[in-house]
Symmetry: D2
Subunit: 307 residues, 4 copies
Amino acid sequence: MEGLLTQLIDRCRPFARSGKVANYIPALEKADPDALGIYILDRNGLHAQGGDSQVPFTIQSIIKPILLLQALMDNGEEFVRSRVGVESTGKPFDAINISNAVDQEILSEHINPMVNMGAIVMCTLIRGGNYQERFNRLLELTRKLANNPDIDVDEEVYASELATGNKNRALAFLMKSCGLLEGDVEEVLSCYFRACSIRVDCRDLARIAFVLSNKGRDFMGNQLFPARYAHYVNAVLMTCGMYDGAGDFAVTVGVPAKSGVGGGIMAVVPGRMGIGIYAPALDKKGNSVAGIRFLRELSKQLELSIF
Amino acid sequence: MEGLLTQLIDRCRPFARSGKVANYIPALEKADPDALGIYILDRNGLHAQGGDSQVPFTIQSIIKPILLLQALMDNGEEFVRSRVGVESTGKPFDAINISNAVDQEILSEHINPMVNMGAIVMCTLIRGGNYQERFNRLLELTRKLANNPDIDVDEEVYASELATGNKNRALAFLMKSCGLLEGDVEEVLSCYFRACSIRVDCRDLARIAFVLSNKGRDFMGNQLFPARYAHYVNAVLMTCGMYDGAGDFAVTVGVPAKSGVGGGIMAVVPGRMGIGIYAPALDKKGNSVAGIRFLRELSKQLELSIF
Amino acid sequence: MEGLLTQLIDRCRPFARSGKVANYIPALEKADPDALGIYILDRNGLHAQGGDSQVPFTIQSIIKPILLLQALMDNGEEFVRSRVGVESTGKPFDAINISNAVDQEILSEHINPMVNMGAIVMCTLIRGGNYQERFNRLLELTRKLANNPDIDVDEEVYASELATGNKNRALAFLMKSCGLLEGDVEEVLSCYFRACSIRVDCRDLARIAFVLSNKGRDFMGNQLFPARYAHYVNAVLMTCGMYDGAGDFAVTVGVPAKSGVGGGIMAVVPGRMGIGIYAPALDKKGNSVAGIRFLRELSKQLELSIF
Amino acid sequence: MEGLLTQLIDRCRPFARSGKVANYIPALEKADPDALGIYILDRNGLHAQGGDSQVPFTIQSIIKPILLLQALMDNGEEFVRSRVGVESTGKPFDAINISNAVDQEILSEHINPMVNMGAIVMCTLIRGGNYQERFNRLLELTRKLANNPDIDVDEEVYASELATGNKNRALAFLMKSCGLLEGDVEEVLSCYFRACSIRVDCRDLARIAFVLSNKGRDFMGNQLFPARYAHYVNAVLMTCGMYDGAGDFAVTVGVPAKSGVGGGIMAVVPGRMGIGIYAPALDKKGNSVAGIRFLRELSKQLELSIF
């Protein structure tokens, strides 16, 4: 398997050149655009890795499925559904998703957990006495899913996100003004920015993906959350996980996945394996170019498509 | 199995009351709102049926995956992709999907094969000397997929669609004006309306779904189209098949499916079975109420979700 | 005065170079991009002209205020208002103006008489047994306003408009599907296309503008329509007459006006004069570049702004 | 004249019942919905008043033309135009005016000085070392235009605006994220909220309107600003001053005007008079119901329409 991975890495690395490392904050800009790493964990507990699989990077939007899990675990499906819809928006992840241009209405059923609006709302659904406590619970869940107690926040990235996050501030104040967001906007946002700044590597993502692929059970057999929450998260990843490139990914790769502007992709192959990828050069939609290319090739080779 | 079906039919039939039979043309309005039929065909060639599984109805939007198949078979993936995108629109199936409100641009990458705009374009991608010939090839493919040479057009419905289809005319002329549609608009539309007026029953849909679930091979083992086209169609069904309710369906049922305003649903359980449903009372998004309810229950009972 | 006109013509003619003659139909493309003509008729019955004031051109959108007049004369203000709103759309003149992207609603209060949707509706408001008769009444009104019985249709332009008018067909079928348009779409459109193809010159426009500037009374003192209809039309011209450049025109020229893609501008200086301009090179919004420039200079020199 | 005013007040007061006093902050909610006051100042220096003309209220959006004047006086027309467009948006005053739903672009040419986005930008265009200084210059201009040194801020309203202004925060952060807004968002907003909270009465508005109607000259003959800025402001008021009801107001009243949710309307009759109205019950678009009614009647009686 590792031979196959090396071969695919060599073949896919050049595709990074058509992409660009995220540059809205200095900390992300420093990433090596040619980096490409992969880690796979299968249901037999076997793992394989290749390339830059040990380079740390910030989780960014890949925290969204974990936020969704935490929200589900803390509130149940029905309540979460009533606050954040599950339909694709047909728009970019940071879009201002106004349901009605004239009435300037925003409806919870027109946002989903994989766009920024939905993720910001989910921060308010985490249980906790204050936002420090809420964030810590999310961090703990992330560590537990990845079986890695060392996972922590990249404070430099967090500070940058906080300084530059005006579009997210706009989204949050807008939802606040429409009654879709409770609590202090800046506190909610600091939780969200902190969540995006969690530092992981390919192995972490592969392990988290594995639990999702395995109906909530980690590779040591611990049931970390109910199987139906795995269904919920995977279904949402399938339809909305790859930003406004979800349809293309479904056709060409065919598994639930989530990408982040930090360059990571977490791919869930239900019943078979969890995959973590790192390749920071992004296409226009914010997805990792070489990472998607790699997953396409891997999916063909291993017949991963669930369709 | 048929015991289970009967039990679920009894449980789900009352949900039809919250829906309404499509009434934009008289021929559809005549449908019995309480009807509920199901037909299942599994990979072992076994079938089961229940309720009103033999009532004929018009295929309506369920022709869209077949149109997509025909377009793929006639043009290959790359060409089809260049003419009709694969991303969710976040809008209703008959939406005017303008990419840019100011410049009034419509881009092929913002339409998909499961919305009317995309389906109308796909009619122009069928090979044939004229639209009679093109339509006949589509009808032949439908008959072949369903292994039913008797499938034909409901001429009354066709005449009504033709008479009332002004929104679709608007969509077609709009695409024409943007250079997205070739040929004579009224001819293209007559092909599209005729395609929507094809009459099927639950068994037909189950058999078509079966071929899609079985990588292009029918239950007698004939390879009707390449496996990768089944992947393509199923992926598109998953992300866009249930109109702007696709996300909800992915979460609660978890299989590729397509509904039509005639009351049909075709559900594809990859590697396992094809399902045809009939229940004509629709929700606001145009999906069969009792049909979706039935599929939810069935998915839970048989663990059909691919996630 | 004619000295001033000549001087301004010389100064403004070069601005045409930044524009482009309409080229969506061959007949318009033949226009001389450097042409610039003007005709002024003031309340004392005096007139002045300069440049290419005798070149004939098609009236195009400048028929819209006449259509509005005819609709008002045939139906009164209240009824016309209930069918076509009076607010700016903030969009191009041929925009698909959907009030609600999700529900795909189009409301009459979100269209106005100066955008194509509104103008098409107004064709249905002209009284007449059939569309030949309706169009003839509109043509008669145009001749009467211009005091020129020779005004007629440019049949070549009409044939081209008919052949290429798919965007307008889309608009009409869309309104039809929303219940905003009565009658046979192709008949309504043929009336609309024919109306746009009426051939006029600067003197015709100046005379029509004069009647509007003079509370409905022509320069011989005949009251052609009630003063309040002049108010109505002029107000709509002010807020919506220059396409999505109406605000700029209000600031820099400051009088009600209407432009057409044929290169004409009709400007109404209430209580003072009517102006007809011809300069076929257009800016991106479809307004005559040199024509607007000319009107800016003239407005400064003669203090025409009503503000 | 005062007899006419009294008569019109009696006739128009009942129309207030179809409206509602603004209730998004408690301070506004206390207003008497039946109040109706008017103050007129004509070019001969004569004035007339009637009804509740001495009730103080907050200026709210009527500060926008004064903000525009200040911006013009501090930066000239060209610079102001480059930062804030002059076209109608076709949307409500507090709309999020995204030019392109997919690219989430906001262009300065698609906002105008009469919508909140434009007004917030104009706060950044006032000259001054800090926002205290900038605001003081705006307040001074307001006092000078109204010839009333006692005009000041309603601190209760200001505090409420600050506490509830999340939609405006969203607009400001959005523009900030698009590079349309310089400076600290909260400081800019505090200037804007403070500006909206300036307390005036009908006489103040009439006097301000008078200067605008009189080419920048007050009733004592002082030239407070260049005549061309009066043209600019009046033209913008005409096309965008009455929110998304500007077209209707142009047709039925026919003069430049600005309304505010505090219940005020300032109407400018170029070359003739300035009018201040107070009637706090608002229609759905945020315009004073009885105030508009009153102006319609007055316009008919005195033939005020500039068309």
